[in-house]
Subunit: 143 residues, 3 copies
Amino acid sequence: MSVALTQHTLSVQTHGRSFVPLGSRIHRVLDASELRAGICTLFLAHTSASLLINEGADEEVTRDLERFFARLVPDGDDLFLHRAEGPDDMPAHVRTALTQTSVSVPFAAGSLSLGAWQEVFLWEHRHAPHTRTISVTLIGAAQ
Amino acid sequence: MSVALTQHTLSVQTHGRSFVPLGSRIHRVLDASELRAGICTLFLAHTSASLLINEGADEEVTRDLERFFARLVPDGDDLFLHRAEGPDDMPAHVRTALTQTSVSVPFAAGSLSLGAWQEVFLWEHRHAPHTRTISVTLIGAAQ
Amino acid sequence: MSVALTQHTLSVQTHGRSFVPLGSRIHRVLDASELRAGICTLFLAHTSASLLINEGADEEVTRDLERFFARLVPDGDDLFLHRAEGPDDMPAHVRTALTQTSVSVPFAAGSLSLGAWQEVFLWEHRHAPHTRTISVTLIGAAQ
């Protein structure tokens, strides 16, 4: 089984602090390739937003995740000296450190091998809208 | 050095909230392949359990990790609105967000390149036993 | 596009709890290979230090990250029973669990596809200096 590699770039517009599901866009990249089985590595080229794999069925889960992180890493915390871009600047970097900048998801039979409840999210940590860039690398076999 | 890819699925039975070492099962998958050097990517298809690489020599370490996470993300916390499956439901999702769903470990000379003290664990975050599915993808060269 | 794989080992000397930028050393490994596009997977073979991708432009960011983690996971916390190597022993394992042991960064046109503000750091969590080993695996195409 010989292995091939393709790379793509996704641009995602966020509307401030919130979760953006990515699964359907990743599947379109996968469908456009000839690869059927392998690894899809996502990389977010930013330090104040994250990639997160978690439950996508009940929206209360991501709302609770947001509540938990807002309590754990309070905006405007006096601890932080890096405040160049406002009270949510340094908390966004901490949230990024506590979650993921790159995630690798297997695919088989041309489809991501996500669990029944899993979704891949971009988690925007800044309150202002941002345009975020995600690199998608597929390494796999056409079978 | 031409590169090949193989995929396997592991099923792991947990006994409630605890750590299950995976290293010996991953090594069996690696031994059964002809690949000698490359990357082993593990992916856990669940949102209330994690993959974790940490010290496996002294069991007090994983017990202390459990104590820390139980204090950081308390079961039954009033903050959480998603409680469909009980007081450990949403804390399990938060613990998953704070740790890993996928990890990539290199291998060389047919063996995982883990450090002297490292073990790969499945960390079950729910109190009830669960059957968990892990996808193992090996990308590497037979040399 | 045929895919090749190379592996290298980096040895990094730390000077106690602090951040060591790795980008220039990783680029030297990449330059020495013939690979132009693919994935670079870093793996740290230790349980009391981390790999972290975060802002590298303003050093106040990593200082604030250190302040936050020192408050979240206090050295000498009575919660911890694993204290064989001192008050920073178990906190180092917890910090490792909360951050990363492996990260995968894409590269294209022979250069890591890091964002404008991103740096890859080794984060030493122990107060004493240590020699740390990082495995670098490149999977990619020479184009």
